[in-house]
């Protein structure tokens, strides 16, 4: 009887399917992709998977466009569908689309694609050799990719900490596996996966603990409820500060901010390069989205308490990222440290805590993401007989061997360095302006000095490619990719230039996105 009574008083949850469509489409497509992997015959899988993935991404993007202008907290207060959410979801989908093009490439590696023929085989074992000789090509990466994208779409939209945590795990777990899928240098790849998993799990635990403390403080994990409790000055400030610190650790880990950045170079280096591009670009958008939402919505009221901490972290991230990047000799590790430094620049936008800071960070994320995927796509093309030639000395004289590819890479580097008329300048200008307007002038000045130092290692690669004699090592060559990678690089170059030359388009989108709803 009692169970019947309970059922009678049970309120049916309202689910706004239209507003959640972008997320639902991706998760639905992910399930389809999983079924394809299980039931479709081997020779058809790739074609079906590619159709599923690209139509899924396109449909989800169309859904984002359809519901533009929505300002609503959907799914019983769990998912905030507002301007910033939709902007970030759109960005993630576009970036994921470009990244998927690079992942679909099967022409650059003579052995097949970038992914292991059998990820479970021990590196260096006879099993592995046997599978390689069989010439197996797997498509298991696609469902993983889609689940991860789904998590990323949900992450910045989460309006309570519990949903945010679920999204965090949904986006992270597939990434841990994908990091271990590299076909070449299996040991490095597996090390990367394990490292990423262990540290990631660790940071999730921090996030979870912080969440528990917030619940203890506010009696709710809802972001606006936490904000209300802070306004009412309900409980112990000590509890809030600890909770804020713990939750921040979880998010700053995903962003790769110093001192939670140690995983970045190893994971970026070990992962299959197309995955590195995807991970570096899309995870950062999603994680910054979540960080911005927590900091602006839940903790906006106590920004004077967390801003000093973020000042220090932003400054450290810029300085450490830049200085370590200076000493790298591996292109993937250099890009990893560069992405740490870029995260520091973006944190300036978070610190600003004004609307310009929010829109500036979003623009920076898009500019950075596009250039990052493009840059890693080009890394996949420079190869010798053992795979990618990622040592910097092997890139010497690339401008002579492949002027177009080298020029595209130079453009991405200039964008990272923030040279005017590239997308990176638009982003940097937007966050630094917001930073000064928000009273963070010292951090902006550190940022500008870090930019000057950072320019040195970006320019150094350009010097290496264009001014140095080609390396004596003749085995290094730039392979001609299929249409997939070519298209990805072309789109990245195009968008990098468009955002640099006509920034108004994206600035309008970001400004119209407005603020987070509560």
């Amino acid at each position: 009887m009692s169970s019947l009574l309970a059922a009678a008083s049970f309120e049916t949850p309202t689910i706004e399917y239209d507003q959640l469509a972008p997320i639902i489409i991706i998760f639905g497509v992910a399930v389809v992709s999983l079924l394809v992997e299980a039931f479709a015959p081997r020779q058809w899988r790739r074609v079906i998977q590619l159709i599923v993935v690209f139509t899924g991404l396109a449909a989800s993007f169309a859904a984002v466009v359809m519901i533009r202008g929505t300002q609503h907290i959907a799914a019983m207060g769990s998912v905030a569908v507002d301007g910033p959410t939709l902007f970030m979801q759109g960005s993630i989908l576009v970036l994921a689309f470009i990244a998927a093009l690079v992942m679909a490439e099967r022409q650059v590696d003579p052995l097949g694609d970038a992914f292991a023929p059998r990820a479970s085989a021990l590196p260096g074992s006879s099993d592995e050799l046997a599978f390689t000789q069989l010439g197996w090509l797997q498509t298991e990466v696609w469902p993983l990719f889609l689940f991860s994208v789904g998590g990323m779409l949900l992450f910045p939209a989460s309006s309570d900490l519990l949903t945010m945590f679920v999204a965090l795990e949904v986006l992270s777990l597939p990434l841990y596996i994908m990091a271990g899928l590299a076909r070449r240098r299996r040991l490095l790849s597996q090390e990367a996966a394990l490292k990423y998993f262990v540290l990631g799990a660790f940071s999730s635990a921090f996030f979870l603990y912080g969440m528990a403390l917030f619940y203890g403080y506010a009696g709710s994990v809802d972001l606006s409820a936490i904000s209300d409790a802070l306004t009412a000055n309900a409980g112990s400030m000590w509890l809030v500060v600890t909770a804020t610190a713990l939750v921040s650790v979880g998010l700053l880990f995903k962003i790769g901010a110093v001192p939670f950045h140690q995983w970045t170079p190893d994971v970026y280096q070990g992962s299959p390069t197309p995955i590195t591009g995807f991970m570096a670009a899309c995870t950062k958008v999603a994680a910054f989205g979540a960080l911005l939402r927590i900091m602006y919505v839940a903790l906006g009221g106590i920004r004077w308490d967390w801003r000093p901490m973020m000042y220090v972290i932003a400054a450290l991230t810029m300085i450490v990222g830049t200085l370590f990047a200076l000493t790298q000799t591996d292109i993937k590790r250099m890009l990893a440290y560069s992405s740490i430094a870029q995260a520091g620049f973006m944190l300036v936008g978070v610190i600003a805590t004004n609307q310009a800071g929010l829109s500036g960070t979003m623009v920076y994320l898009v500019a950075y993401g596009i250039a990052t995927i493009g840059a890693f796509a080009i890394v996949t093309l420079v190869r010798d007989s053992t795979g990618e030639a990622s040592h910097l000395s092997q890139w010497a004289g690339l401008g002579r061997k492949a002027p177009i590819v080298a020029s595209a890479f130079a453009l991405f580097l200039l964008a990272f360095a923030g040279i005017p008329l590239t997308s990176g300048f638009t982003g940097k200008f937007a966050v630094f302006t917001a930073g000064i307007a928000g009273g963070a002038t010292p951090v902006v000045i550190i940022g500008l000095i870090a930019s000057a130092v950072a320019a040195f290692f970006y320019i150094r690669v350009i010097v290496l490619m264009f001014f140095n004699e080609p390396s004596s090592d003749d085995s290094v060559s730039v392979v001609v990719p299929s249409g997939f990678t070519t298209l990805a690089i072309t789109i990245s170059v195009g968008l990098t230039l468009v955002i640099g030359l006509v920034p108004q388009l994206i600035l309008n989108l970001a400004n119209q996105a407005g603020l987070f709803i509560r």
Partner: protein, 514 residues
Amino acid sequence: MSTFPWLLALLVVPLIGAAIVMFLPKNSPALAKQFGLLVSLIVFALTVGMALQFVTAQAADFQFTYSFSWIPAFGVNFALGVDGIALVLIAMAACLVPVVMLAGWNDVDGSQGSVRGYVALILVLEAAIVGVFAATDLFLFYVFFEAMLVPVYFLIGRYGGPRRNYAAVKFLLYSLFGGLLMLASLIGLYVVSARITGVGTFDFTALANLNIDPDTQKWLFLGFFIAFAIKAPLVPFHTWLPDAAAESTPGTAVLLVGVLDKVGTFGMLRYCLELFPDASRWATPVVIALAVVGIIYGALVAIGQSDIKRLIAYTSVSHFGFIALGIFVMTTRGQSGSALYMVNHGFSTAALFLIAGFLISRRGSRLIEDFGGVQKVAPILAGTFLVAGLSSLALPGLSSFVSEFLVLVGTFERYRWIGVVATLGIVLAALYILLMYQRTMTGPTPDEVGERVTDLRGREVLAVAPILVIIVVLGFYPKPVLDVINPAIDRVMHAVNASDPAPEVAPVAEGTQP
């Protein structure tokens, strides 16, 4: 005034030319050079056309203005316009580019980079130069200021001498560092303008009319000033210049030292003084000290050089000291002398670098000690070199004299002893130029020089002659240039709220006394 968008045309024509050059057939470098020369001559013709339309009476106002909204979110307009100073500097650049193309016809034939790339880079650089002088929106100015670096970087790094990598990177890093400091100030200025007027703007005239409080001005001034001091360059920010100038081809060196570096002094005059008048007066003692140190130090180091190109680069350090001095003594004569000096220095340095380039390419060495007695084997070369050198040491009758004299008079009016010390620079100039001439051109002719150094060919004479003519003409009759410059100088003087000191002896000819 016609409505033809002169400045936009000056900006777009070289860019289109550069794009076309890149699509010319790879195996016919001569075609690329001919086409590049043609484009630069078209730009020159357009500049002449524009200069003829310029209304001298209103030279203080921006003319040929052209504007459209570029990034409304930041209040950025693509706004162009020239006052008298910008006009003469653009004209100088437009005049030097074809000369450089013609003079450096064979300079890059054997180098690792392609000839069409060289031509295209020079044309892109020309567009950036026009843009940086013509921008009336500070954001646009900054964009051109930074964009200018890219072609120069490749011009040095791909086509330069043995240590070109080092020189190119050093040049780029110095400039980028300065540029980023300026960016910080630029953003600060934008935020300040938003605080004062409610709407952030980058429009030069609007920003010049803001009353920024003096403390904020000082910080903003520093960002701009250091960027310009690196670009100009003033001592102690000058160490990139000798490397960059010595390692680049003569043509690149001309554009770099003769034109690009003027952006630094132009920026001090236009932006530092007019945007931050209080801070400029606050900084005057330090800047004047740096300028005087630069004059003497540049000259002394030049005397000690054994490399001809480095010597010329150091003479420029000394001359930039004069220009900065004239700007910051805050007298009408000093500033109009500086503005004129920017033009004159461009031409006399161009002549020196180009003729030294002819000499060096013949002998295959940049060292002074490898030369001697050139005047016997190549009298025209030696003669033109002497004229260019005499112009550099400010011999009366040649153009630099007028401007250097004006700067010194302007300095003397306000700071007598500084004027006296700066005059030493002229004495030292005679030393470094004449010593170099004596060591390279006179005396016994070593065998290598006798065998290799031939006299100037027709193309080379054709390239150098116009510059020498301009040097002589402006030496005797600088009035047209001064007439265009002076109204703009009056505007600057008014903006920085300075007036000329009253003369101690009552003027005889002029009726009223201030």
